[in-house]
């Protein structure tokens, strides 16, 4: 492995720089302005109370809505309206809000100016966008993302809560989030590392694309077999693994991202189970190949909690088998979005009841 490390030294440096992305902080308050450092380490001065927000970052949009700030949103990108069936149900206003961008990168500047936002939330992935947009419209553009880390997600909720005048609500959600995660973590804490099940995650519509870091697996007492690998795409947690690596690391479980409409799934559990190349992998031999929610570039805080509980029940049925996921899921969605039977609806859309019938 040494030669690999030597060859990719420069990439590692880039990776560590990228790891700095989730570090967000509220640095200081000056008059009615707040100085914050975003995920791209940019220092930005923004109004300490926001009334008009454009969000091009779905994770932040969901957080704003969950904190009760949905009425402050004046413009969005197209992601949630086009690809998140559930979001439309708990935030119907999304279909009436102006779309200022299709992809998050192609912003309609004139429309943005017309909407007079106090701030624009953007994604740190399109790292050229925030500065260029800010220079053009002379309004603060903040790039934030949790990058799949609980701690960063909590920081985001706290920061946004402060900015939209919902500190108490933010504290309440953070408390709830931490309590649920701690429950799972404490339940598996005594299990030695070498006895924890090894998990391979097939994400992003590909058998060989996998996250090198996925906190719900760790929290649920599993070991992600790709953890520690270098990401193929710098600044992300995504890598494309060799099939031989999967066989060599021999996971006990293979989890396929199932957070798609059934007709959109590019990789299915059935395909993995029938893939002769993986015939010697323990998970395939034991038929422990399941769907899981996973995430795209963006997390939904409610779904992250649900995912952690779901994974715990999958990896340790003897410990968590009693959890009623539908009841828990509905409670979580109610807590975050005030929505009755949110998980049941999501489950119906994703056909979760058909997920794990092997």
């Amino acid at each position: 492995m040494n030669y690999r490390a030597a060859i990719w030294l420069s990439i590692l440096i880039g990776f560590f720089l990228a790891e700095a992305f989730p570090q967000t902080s509220r640095d200081a308050s000056v008059d009615n302005k707040l100085i914050i450092t975003d995920s791209l380490s940019r220092t930005i001065s923004i109004p300490s109370k926001l009334e008009r927000i454009i969000s091009l970052q779905p994770e932040l949009t969901r957080i704003i809505v969950s904190l009760g700030g949905g009425d402050k949103l004046v413009g969005l990108d197209a992601f949630l309206r086009r690809y998140d069936a559930l979001f439309k149900m708990y935030y119907p206003k999304v279909s009436r809000l102006p779309l200022v961008s299709m992809t998050g990168a192609d912003v309609n500047i004139e429309m943005v100016l017309e909407l007079r936002p106090d701030v624009i939330f953007a994604s740190p992935f399109e790292f050229h966008i925030p500065d260029s947009l800010q220079n053009k419209i002379r309004k603060p553009v903040v790039a934030l993302a949790s990058m799949g880390r609980f701690k960063s997600l909590i920081q985001e909720i706290e920061l946004v809560g402060g900015l939209i005048g919902q500190r108490e609500r933010a504290s309440e959600l953070i408390q709830y989030f931490k309590q649920k995660i701690e429950f799972v973590r404490n339940s598996v804490a005594s299990i030695p590392q070498d006895e924890r099940p090894k998990v391979y995650l097939s994400f992003w519509a590909s058998l060989t694309k996998t996250p090198v870091f996925y906190e719900p697996v760790n929290a649920a007492g599993g070991v992600n077999i790709a953890e520690g690998l270098l990401p193929s795409f710098l600044g992300t947690t995504e890598t494309v693994i060799h099939l031989e690596e999967i066989i060599q690391r021999n996971p006990d479980f293979i989890l396929v991202q199932g957070n798609f409409l059934p007709e959109e799934r590019m990789v299915t559990v059935e395909q993995v189970l029938q893939d002769a190349r993986l015939g010697s992998v323990k998970a395939v031999k034991d038929r422990k190949v399941f769907y899981t929610f996973g995430f795209w570039s963006w997390w939904d805080p409610a779904e992250v909690l649900l995912e952690t509980l779901y994974l715990a029940s999958l990896l340790y049925p003897e410990k968590f088998g009693q959890i009623n996921l539908e009841k828990e899921g509905n409670e979580i969605f109610k807590k975050f979005y005030g929505m009755e039977n949110g998980f049941s609806l999501l489950s119906g859309i994703l056909k979760c009841n058909e997920w794990n019938k092997n």
Binding site: R4, I7, W8, F79, R82, Y83, M102, T103, W204, A205, S206, L207, T208, K209, L229, L230, P231, S232, T239, V240, I241, H242, L243, E244, E245, I247, Q248, F260, E263, E264, M266, A276, R277, L278, G279, S280, W296, S297
Partner: protein, 339 residues
């Protein structure tokens, strides 16, 4: 040509022709999963004849016969296809800068793949859509240019136009694609051999072999087609028919390779040039040797992408990275070799 030079070329040609066998054997030893040479030999032997008392673990069988072999066979076939197509089209167009994608095949197949991934879903496989639109692109070139014996410049320019048109359509599909399909599409566009299976090989290999076979059979006529049409006619060649055969065979070869492996650039440009540097410009040698050398080239390139990192680097990126400096080097070294 002096006797020594002829002997040297003969020796080089033999070496190039047998090179893929050595590269294939070497490549079988490379991969993330450690298999000792002894176990590899045992696995290979047990795969051929099952008389061994102590057959190796089944995991070795899976790795060698289900992962490495199909992948290498695909690399071999795709490398040979792209190189032979490149060499043939360079001879046909009498232009050393022409590549295997000049007739709009890459843009056509990319658009087909995009259409399949974004709109058509699993009902219409990516490979089939890519192949279909690659053929449509070539047909469009013919229709617009007028015929297969249209002036070379007309065909070249029409190829550029058709490529641009399909690129625009691709951009349009990308714009409306959902992020999930877009990810899969980007991966496909970068070219990869990582998901090779026997099924894909059984579908694409016969087409590639057929195309390569036809082009190899036509190799001596390519020397004649490299002259002007009048000269070729004076030598008794049916220019229209031969042109049609060359174009159909290169389209078949490139489209079937691209459909299954994505867009792998530069192979059809640099391999024929390297071959010409070694054995001269006679297409009777260049065409078959390009097949052998291209096969070895792509297998070696794939070895590097498989052995260098724990993660998969799309081979299209790699051939781009090494292809450009290599081409500059060849250009400087062999400016006078081509014609």
């Amino acid at each position: 040509m002096s006797g020594i030079r002829t002997k040297k070329i003969g020796l080089l040609s033999t070496l190039i022709l047998i090179l893929p066998i050595f590269v294939l054997v070497l490549s079988l030893t490379i991969g993330s999963y450690p298999i000792s040479p002894k176990n590899l030999l045992k696995t290979l032997a047990s795969g051929i004849v099952s008389v061994f008392k102590h057959s190796p673990p089944s995991i070795y069988h899976d790795i060698v016969f289900r992962i490495r072999f199909p992948r290498l066979l695909l690399a071999l076939a795709v490398g040979a296809s792209l190189s032979v197509s490149g060499a043939s089209l360079q001879a046909f167009f009498r232009n050393p800068l022409v590549n295997e994608y000049i007739l709009g095949i890459s843009s056509g197949s990319a658009f087909g793949a995009a259409l399949s991934l974004v709109f058509l879903g699993k009902g219409f496989p990516v490979q089939l859509a890519a192949f279909f639109f690659a053929v449509i692109a070539v047909l469009a070139v013919f229709l617009i240019a007028g015929s297969s014996d249209a002036p070379i410049v007309s065909l070249l320019l029409t190829g550029v136009i058709v490529s641009a048109f399909f690129s625009a359509l691709l951009a349009l599909v990308e714009y409306f694609a959902n992020p999930y399909a877009l990810q899969a599409l980007f991966f496909w566009l970068m070219g990869s051999l990582s998901l090779a299976t026997w099924r894909e090989i059984s579908l694409s290999l016969p087409l590639m072999v057929l195309g390569i076979g036809v082009l190899i059979l036509l190799r001596w006529r390519m020397n004649v087609l490299s002259m002007s049409s009048d000269e070729a006619r004076a030598l008794g060649i049916d220019v229209r028919r031969e042109n049609m055969l060359v174009i159909v065979a290169t389209a078949l070869t490139t489209a079937s390779a691209t459909a299954v492996a994505g867009i792998i650039s530069w192979v059809g440009l640099i391999v024929p040039h390297m071959v010409r540097m070694m054995v001269g410009v006679d297409n009777r040698r260049v065409i078959p040797l390009s097949a052998a050398f291209g096969a070895s080239f792509l297998m070696l390139a794939d070895d590097i992408t498989r052995g260098l990192t724990s993660f998969e680097i799309p081979i299209g990126i790699f051939t781009n990275i090494i292809g450009i400096p290599l081409f500059i080097f060849l250009l400087k070294k062999s400016a006078k070799v081509w014609l």
